[in-house]
């Protein structure tokens, strides 16, 4: 067998070890990963708790958004109803879509990842537990504040995709729109933090021997999901920033009269918005693939093809964004490209569906609760997929655009593709975290009501759409003939809600949370590692994985793991720790020391929420104070991390030794920073695209850019900043002071470059309020300014650590990640300064 890192795979043969382990080892693990008490429940960072908090909060938002849907259905049950006024109805449909997409669908699958992945990969926890806690609290606090806007009549009312000019200051003068722009922008930060955690977790903390071809399919799904978030979400972050700047400062990115373009919003939004559908679908499909194999009691058919389908979805879904814009008058060939991609993306979805059907066909499927939801999901999702192929055809889309046919289509796809699999997952995995499984008898009623209710609610909407009923109308006239399908839909919606109510009753009766102790166990007979005996430290020892369903192939494994016969049967350093493995073949590389509980992630999240809330309600001093405190919170939580322990190398079992501290591209911190830089790079790339788009579509408003010839000082300074940042790593061998000095000089050089760049553009006479071009150029510079402020904070933080003697030599992770960030920032400035001068030159 080949090796990826030089590790000898023959060493795996030493496991399971035979000699008995001392009983005090397990006691020590329990002490280190102890249960919280009292207020410590707020400061926990262990995935067993954070995952449950996350899931519970996301499900709460599902219920809240569902109640909004019921209100809308009551309003539409008959013509000319007056249950809610028109303005409130606008808020209801906007909040229903927004909450379901941003506060339920993405967070709930991220939560499932936080809860399940460490167990499935047999890691002690995800690699950045405090980041998980921060992401959760930011989402929970921010989401609840956002939802509360509904109760004071300030909820957004421009539809979940917030198109300008409707959402521009002229047509939406209140702060309702700002709640959406700042609230959603903020919540996306939480989603990205979770995605970084998941990518590094899946690629670097798998059990030894779990090569990529043996990885659980859910982990593959979460990996693709997280990468898609990293690529897609920056686009909506940029879009929300630009629209907020336009509203607050009058910079006309989307105002056609001043050289902006409202279509730019649609491109930016849908570059995020359509992949978002697959971002939601893929983890659910991953759950389906895991559950189908267990339900059918056989291996998943076509594992390799499913992996390919997930990867292909991750790519092709980025080529379909403009199919939401077929009616905007795009040229025919371009329209054809998007139509073709929209049809092509159904191929990987089809592969997965056929694989599930084949698995059920070759196995001996059980019609238990997960089985029923799996089968119901296939039926509903395929129906939605077929109408999806219909609307991918441009002439049909022209007829159906913005009609109830689309409402029916998207609910079939999302409920079939995500909600039913999620309920299957609840029934499948609840025995892992609860002392009792849910009731099979009640589950049949839950499924029946949800399946029938869903179809009764949404099937008639196809007809209503074909009869011409547009989306988002708050009422209609009797003579339209839409009354019967609407009444039937309303009855269906209440049946669906009744099913969910029964599920809640079942939860109340049977769900008894037991993190790490006395769960109901592997009641479905699944074969993957999350069903190993578990405590708060996860599995007692970390097994060697030789197949995709190790518990099916090695019936002794659970017992051997519980007796500590595999890797890391004890705490090697007396601290929280997990094994970091290589990304392809999962060979042990080093022991990661993990941070424990801390109040600082919670504090940082609360103050981050305060910062965005303050900006939204225009309480600027409060916002600034909150922002400063949020930064203090983050730095304080980081302060205790990146410290060496006394031991250079430790025995992780069977005399296999690994280091306790590594730096550079091997370290998990380096990986996280590179992913963060990809996020920043995508925001920057989309900002460059925005400038190019306006140049292409608004040539009449284009002024000569700042002269290229005069830019050499700017470019030289950025190049110097880049060189200084890179040099810091080498200079650390000479002393921490040298490295810190190089980092601070890098910030100074980049700051001077930005100052010069800005001055050269001001000298052209362009002002950002005057044209889309100038607004975009100055927005790019503002983006660069933000990067430099963060870089300056990081360099100052390095200086503080150096003063306190916390910068290890000859290499140090804090210096490494700061170097990466500053080098990126300098590169970004250089490219931006060149691009803005070249585009539209002459």
């Amino acid at each position: 067998m080949s090796s990826e890192t030089g590790f000898d795979p023959a060493l795996y043969a030493r496991f399971p070890t035979q000699e008995p382990r001392p009983p005090e080892e397990e006691e020590e693990l329990r002490r280190i990963w102890c249960k919280p008490k009292g207020w410590e429940y707020l400061t926990v960072v262990n995935n067993n708790y954070v995952g449950i908090y996350y899931l519970g909060t996301a499900f709460l938002f599902f219920l809240l958004a569902g109640v909004l849907a019921l209100l809308m259905r009551v309003q539409l049950a008959a013509p000319l109803m007056e249950i809610v006024p028109q303005a409130t109805y606008n808020q209801l449909f906007t909040m229903h879509g927004t909450v379901m997409m941003f506060l339920f669908a993405v967070p709930v699958v991220e939560a499932a990842g936080v809860l399940l992945l460490p167990q499935m990969l047999a890691a002690r926890d995800l690699p950045f537990p405090r980041l998980s806690a921060y992401a959760f609290w930011a989402y929970a606090v921010g989401g609840l504040c956002f939802f509360a806007s509904l109760f004071v009549g300030l909820a957004p009312d421009g539809g979940w995709f917030m198109y300008p000019p409707l959402t521009s200051k002229a047509y939406s003068p209140g702060i309702n729109t700002d709640f959406w722009l700042l609230g959603i922008g903020f919540i996306e930060i939480s989603a990205i933090a979770g995605a970084i955690e998941i990518i590094v977790g899946v690629l670097r903390t798998r059990a030894p021997g779990m090569t990529l071809d043996k990885m659980p399919i859910f982990a593959w799904a979460m990996l693709v999901f997280a990468v898609m978030i990293v690529i897609a979400f920056p686009s909506v972050i940029l879009a929300t920033l630009l629209l907020e700047i336009e509203r607050a400062l009058g910079w006309p990115f989307f105002d056609a009269a001043r050289g902006g373009d409202p279509l730019l919003w649609q491109h930016l939004f849908w570059f995020f918005g359509h992949p978002e559908v697959y971002i939601i679908f893929l983890p659910a499909a991953g759950m389906m693939s895991m559950i189908v194999a267990t339900v059918a009691r056989t291996e998943l058919v076509g594992y390799r093809l499913i992996v390919l389908a997930m990867l292909a979805t991750g790519f092709i879904s980025f080529g379909v964004w403009a199919h939401h814009m077929f009616t905007t008058g795009m040229p025919p060939m371009t329209t054809g490209f998007f139509s073709a991609a929209s049809m092509a993306v159904s191929v990987p979805a089809g592969i997965q569906v056929f694989s599930w059907i084949a698995t059920l066909a070759v196995g001996k499927p059980r019609f238990n609760a997960p089985g029923l939801f799996v089968m119901g999901s296939i039926v509903v999702f395929v129906t939605g997929g077929l109408t999806g192929v219909m609307v991918a055809m441009v002439p049909f889309d022209w007829q159906m655009h913005d009609s109830y046919f689309i409402v029916a289509h998207l609910h079939y796809v999302l409920i079939g593709g995500m909600v039913f699999p999620l309920f299957a997952a609840f029934y499948h995995w609840i025995p892992m975290v609860s002392r009792r499984a849910l009731s099979e008898r009640l589950a049949k009623w839950v499924f029946g009501l949800m399946f029938v209710g869903m179809n009764v609610a949404f099937m008639p909407m196809h007809l209503a759409g074909l009869m011409g009923m547009p989306r988002r109308v708050y009422t209609y006239l009797l003579e339209h003939g839409w009354d019967l399908p609407n009444l039937v839909s309303t009855i269906g919606a209440f049946l669906l809600a009744l099913g969910i109510l029964l599920f809640l009753i079942d939860l109340a009766r049977n769900f008894r949370l037991a993190p790490g102790e006395g769960n109901a166990g592997n009641v479905h007979g699944a074969g993957t590692l999350e069903w190993l005996p578990n405590a708060l430290y996860a599995a007692r020892s970390i097994p060697v994985v030789n197949s995709r369903e190790p518990l099916w192939d090695d019936p002794q494994m659970s017992d051997d793991v519980a007796k500590g016969r595999y890797f890391l049967p004890r705490s090697a350093t007396g601290l929280r720790e997990t094994i970091v493995t290589s990304p392809l073949r999962a060979e042990p590389q080093y022991l990661q020391i993990m941070p424990g509980p801390s109040p600082w992630p919670l504090a940082a999240a609360v103050f981050t929420a305060g910062f965005f809330l303050g900006l939204t309600v225009q309480a600027y001093p409060f916002a600034i104070a909150s922002g400063v405190l949020a930064v203090v919170g983050v730095l304080r939580w980081l302060w205790e991390t990146d410290r060496r322990v006394g031991m250079e190398g430790v025995d992780i079992g069977a005399d296999i030794r690994v280091p306790t501290y590594v730096t550079g591209p091997k370290s998990h911190g380096w990986w996280a920073m590179v992913i963060l830089l990809v996020v920043m790079g995508m925001i920057f790339a989309m900002a460059l695209f925005s400038l190019a788009f306006l140049w292409s579509n608004q040539p009449g408003h284009w002024a000569p850019p700042a002269p290229l010839a005069a830019a050499w000082t700017v470019l030289l300074l950025y190049a110097a900043a880049l060189a200084l940042a890179v040099a810091a790593r080498a200079l650390l061998r000479r002393g921490a002071g040298w490295a810190v000095a190089a980092l601070l000089l890098s910030v100074l050089a980049a700051g001077a470059a930005l100052w010069l760049d800005h001055g050269q553009w001001r000298a052209t006479g362009l002002i950002p309020q005057a044209s889309g071009q100038a607004a975009s150029v100055f927005a790019l510079q503002a983006l660069q300014g933000c990067a430099l402020v963060i870089g300056a904070l990081m360099a100052a933080y390095c200086a503080a650590r150096a003063v306190r003697g916390l910068v290890s030599q000859p290499a140090n992770n804090t210096i490494d990640v700061t170097m990466l960030f500053l080098a990126y920032a300098a590169g970004q400035g250089l490219v931006g300064a060149l691009f803005t001068r070249v585009i539209g030159i002459g």
Binding site: A312, F315, M333, G336, R585, S696
Partner: protein, 95 residues
């Protein structure tokens, strides 16, 4: 990186092809020249797919993981090639 490049080869070709086509449509218009460019890029992308598939088929077997990676990559090239072909067709149809 080599493993990821092999795994994702077909899909990377699709992505490069798609965004080049979008760039042409967005920034160069839809006249005869751009349409010919689309067809030329499509032909080139298909040639790259064929070349990569040939390389993969000739590569030595390796261990279980490498064989799995090779077969997945071949399937990816097939899917990517089909998607590229499909993606290029609007240039023939558009007027």
């Amino acid at each position: 990186m080599r493993s990821w490049a092999i795994l994702l080869a077909g899909l990377i070709v699709w992505a490069v092809h798609f965004f080049l086509l979008y760039g042409i449509g967005e920034f160069a218009g839809e006249g005869k020249g751009p349409r010919l460019a689309v067809l030329a890029i499509t032909a080139l992308a298909l040639a790259v797919v064929a070349m990569l598939a040939r390389l993969l088929l000739r590569a030595p077997g390796g261990d279980g993981f490498e064989r799995w990676r090779g077969r997945l990559a071949l399937a990816g090239l097939l899917l990517g090639g089909l998607a590229v072909l499909w993606q290029g067709l609007p240039a023939l149809l558009a007027r």
